[in-house]
Amino acid sequence: MMGASRWTRLWAAVDARLVLRNFLYEVPAYANTLPYLLGAITLAGIVILLGTGILLGQFYAPDPGLANQSIRSIMTQVPAGEVVRGVHVWAAHLTVIVLLLHVVRVYATGAYRFPREANWTVGVALLATMLALFFTGTVLRWDQEGIEALEHNIAFAALLGIFGGWFSPAFSSHVPLLTRLYMAHVSLLPLVLFILLVAHVYLVRQHGISARLTPAGPEAARYTFAQHLKRAAGYGCVMLGLSVALSVLLPVGEGPAPVPGIEVTKPAWLFLPLYGLENLFGVRGFWGAAIFFVWLVAVPVVDRDRAPGWRGRRRALGAGAAVLAVVIALGMYAWLRQPVAHLH
């Protein structure tokens, strides 16, 4: 009894200063199910990436003449470096998978509809930022795939005209683009991600967790937001454990030092649909990705169906399924084909 009262007093003392009771507000029981936890699990993945990224940043040399060698050094000379790098890479893949599932869940349940249109837009910006982080991470490997990704970066920048200025080597003639993309990977993009995440979480808090499409039965269990966070942390532990296991069982390698002027690799699975568009339309296929993101932003404006339940989602689900089918088909097309030169 004394112990319990000591804990109570300790909790009261901490709570008086940090106002932690604000995290004890009630959330619906379905919010603690896996589909509604995907966003929070993505956040847990980002925390893993941040931690491992900080460790890798101590040993990575963001210079075109040194980058490939520094990664080899991380793998062979830094204690646990190979595992830390493997966790960073595998966690990036897993986090993006969970994020995409989160987007699919939000889209399928129509959670972008009034009054959550702004938060959907913030979410789309978060998706774009995560893809940019994945892309810049690919370049930082500075192997053949890395340099080819960088050359595509420059070609896309040229397509954007004056808006692509920052992404071109001409922007800063005495600082290599690799170094500037490293800066973007470790500071600029994480800063943008943080600001967007704050806005995203703030809006979720203000609007509450979106309602289910089907009427819920009587819910005996009552949950608090703290329990929601606890479950997300649990899934975060699972993701970290999975990343460690994958980094040991399927260790991440490093390609030869890159050589410019040749295209013989294909990008990571995530960018295969864009690569497929490039196979069909050349570098102009980039506009296909731009149109995809414009469509995502426009979804709450275009979808005016307010009928309740899944009946009100039929047209939106049909459109979403069609877009998903095109994306998967493009990805499969690119995956099955030999690498194609788009730039040279």
Binding site: N32, P64, G65, N68, Q69, R72, M75, E82, V83, Q144, I147, L150, E151, I154, A155, A158, L159, P169, A170, S173, P176, L177, T179, A221, K230, R231, A233, G234, Y235, G236, C237, V238, M239, L240, G241, L242, V244, A245, S247, V248, L249, P251, V252, G253, E254, G255, P256, A257, P258, V259, P260, G261, I262, V264, T265, G282, V283, P339, L343, H344
Partner: protein, 133 residues
Amino acid sequence: MLGVTLSASTGQPVSAPQDAFTLVRQALAALEVSPPNIDVAAERVIAAQFARNTRGVNIPRVREAQQALEDEDPAAAAAYLMEALRPSEAGPAGLDRTLLVPVVPRFVATPSAYGWLAAAALLMAAGGLIVRP
């Protein structure tokens, strides 16, 4: 067509490579992907033999690589091309040749690997306990 070529050492754009050293490296890159791109490699190997600047490249070895490619033996061709890049010569051949070999780690059953796997299992078990309602 947006032709973009970067210097691998400076990361800045350069004109299209004409030197044999870069062409041999491009051929090697084409052979190191899976499956090896023999057509691209053969094209670069032929161009390397006619390049004006052959500094840092052992051209007879490049010819042997071409023969290996004609025999559809990409592994032998890659070995010849590696030998063709003369080490410790002045100019672009100053590249560390160990960097031209990919690092392809595989799972090795060591105590350290099992330690990491045990840690991974513990993390997943702990996560499973936390997730349990």
